[in-house]
């Protein structure tokens, strides 16, 4: 289909869990590839050696500053891709690689890891470790609508993606104050007088670092791996009445897009 977008998966310092999440949309990946996107680059899934031009790059992993090839490739990704998506906690926030101090087998000199936004501007963040297959699917469908849809679809896709773009924009600022950890819940929600005790942050944490004590999140900072899931899932981090209020139509449209045969 000529109307497809081109998609690549760029692998930096990540555990391949994000890549598994892409594949883990059950048959969803096939539907995406059949109808909406050509996978033009992916070390694991496509036999292509050099980063080609593409519409959307899904970048997994943080950048190791001691690995020159990584630095070259992330810069090249920015040049070649119209939209750069930081897929998962490591690309977006550094995640567990933030704790590295080097010394590990078999590249002990690989010591310093930064989120990709420290080196290039990033357009969209998908936080989480591993990022949820469903959110990858939703973003993929919306990215398609943004690039190939009609005016109404473009408007919807913009509204849907804009909070994830705002997270990326914030992360891309040199002086970004995002901690990308449970601390964000404290600094940007509770300390700002915005928390209402729904508990979504606690449910979203992959390592159970958050418990609800007397209706408010209590963060076990030693447990937190800095994936960014809690803050981005909190309804008081960002909330659009237009998008969320239209949940029935949007979820319906995504289901229909993923089910083009109609069965």
């Amino acid at each position: 289909m000529s109307n497809k977008i081109t998609l690549g998966h760029v692998h930096m310092s990540g555990c391949t869990g994000c890549c598994v999440s892409i594949a883990d949309t059950f048959q969803g990946l096939f539907t995406l590839l059949d109808n909406y996107a050509d996978l033009v680059y992916s070390l694991t899934l496509a036999d292509v050696r050099h980063i080609p031009k593409m519409d959307v790059a899904l970048v997994e992993g943080s950048v190791c500053l001691q690995d020159e090839l990584s630095i070259e490739e992330i810069k090249e990704t920015r040049e070649k891709a119209t939209v750069v998506v930081a897929l998962g906690g490591c690309a977006a926030y550094g995640n567990i690689t933030r704790f590295s101090r080097g010394g590990q087998w078999n590249q002990p000199q690989h010591e310093s890891f930064v989120p990709i936004s420290k080196l290039i501007d990033v357009d969209v963040y998908i936080p989480g470790c591993a990022p949820c297959p469903e959110v990858i699917r939703n973003v993929a469908v919306m990215a398609y609508l943004l690039l190939k849809g009609n005016d109404a679809q473009k408007k919807l896709a913009t509204a849907y993606l804009s909070p994830l773009m705002a997270l990326a924009k914030d992360g891309s600022r040199i002086e970004s104050d995002s901690e990308a950890c449970g601390c964000d819940i404290m600094l940007k929600v509770v300390n700002q007088g915005l928390c209402m005790g729904c508990g979504t942050c606690a449910a979203s944490c992959p390592v159970f670092a958050i418990s609800m004590e007397y209706g408010k999140p209590n963060i076990d900072r030693e447990m937190c791996i800095k994936c960014g899931a809690c803050y981005s899932s909190c309804p008081r981090s960002f909330f659009s009445f237009d998008v969320c209020g239209d949940y029935e139509n949007i979820l319906g449209a995504i289901t229909a897009a993923m089910n083009p045969g109609g069965n």
Binding site: G128, C132, E134, K188, M196, G197, A203, S204, G215, A229
Partner: protein
């Protein structure tokens, strides 16, 4: 701002089960609906505010039997983070069709989670029925304790029911005493996060319900989504609820609209006020 949200129908209703009504807050809509949905296989469990480890402290729980749903009846005017167990409901309890009750903010959280399911793999597609309850404000456990014990002079252990209505905060004791204070007194104890809340009647629920608008013992019910509509119709047909058209009811939708408008207008102002609270600096606005 849409004060009452989108809805397909609005009625006055109450449960036809005297057992359910015995301890329900109002018309037993939430409990009646969950018990019916469980028995019909529409849900295989529901997240409710179960009994906690201190008097009147709710503990979010995944109820999988009618008895457990019944045990969670009634409003506790303090925070029950019902969304916190949504992953457990699927992963630990193995539910495929989850029911959940929540305040408007919790239902907002749920819809955001469905659209941006960050960190909730294979969870958000299993939500089968979201019941919303109207909400003007909520209190922390410590605030509620302060109100009931200090202002109403009622020990939490002898408290039978609390209610907010007619401009007052009511505390009923097990021995039949009633203590009431002007609602005004409670305002300073409100949860700060409630002051930026722009939803009164759970606009994003499948079905939302509250006491305001209908006589004591009855509930006002908004049937909102396609899913909610189909479940509500089945339940009414099965005789789970008796209903009356809302049009003839006093005070009816007029009062609901008035309170919704008051809440949302006040809180919208607060959102704006926060933006300029400092000197050339302000607080974050979550609504974009």
């Amino acid at each position: 701002m849409d004060m009452l949200g989108k809805y397909k129908s609005c009625v006055a209703a109450r449960s036809t089960s005297s057992e359910i009504l015995k301890c329900s807050q109002d018309g037993g809509i939430v409990t009646g609906m969950f018990v019916y949905a469980l028995e019909e296989g529409i849900i295989d469990g529901a997240i409710v505010a179960g009994p906690g480890d201190e008097p009147w402290k709710p503990q979010p729980m995944v109820a999988t039997t009618p008895e457990e749903i019944l045990a969670a009846r009634g409003t506790r005017y303090n925070i029950s983070p019902n969304m916190s167990v949504i992953k457990d409901a699927v992963r630990q309890y193995g539910l495929d069709k989850v029911g959940i009750v929540g305040t408007p903010c919790q239902i907002q959280a749920l819809r955001k989670a469905q659209l941006y399911p960050v960190g909730l793999r294979n969870v958000t597609n299993k939500i089968a029925l979201a019941m919303g309850i109207f909400c003007m404000e909520n209190f922390s456990y410590q605030s509620m304790k302060q109100i009931v014990e200090d202002h109403c002079n009622v020990d939490l252990h002898s408290l039978k029911k609390t209610d907010i209505g007619k401009g007052k905060y009511w505390a009923y004791t097990n021995r039949g005493a009633v203590s009431q204070i002007p609602l005004k007194v409670t305002h300073k104890y409100e949860q700060p996060g409630c002051h930026v809340c722009l939803d009164y009647v759970a606009n994003m629920a499948d079905i939302s319900t509250g006491s305001v608008g209908t006589p004591d013992g009855w509930s006002t019910v908004f049937v909102r989504s396609t899913n909610g509509d189909s479940i509500w119709k089945k339940a009414v047909e099965a005789g789970v609820f008796e209903t009356k058209a809302i049009d003839g009811i006093k005070p009816g939708l007029e009062l609901v609209t008035k309170l919704a408008t008051e809440k949302i207008t006040k809180n919208q102002k607060e959102v704006e006020h926060r933006a300029t609270i400092g000197v050339g600096k302000g607080l974050r606005n979550p609504y974009i």
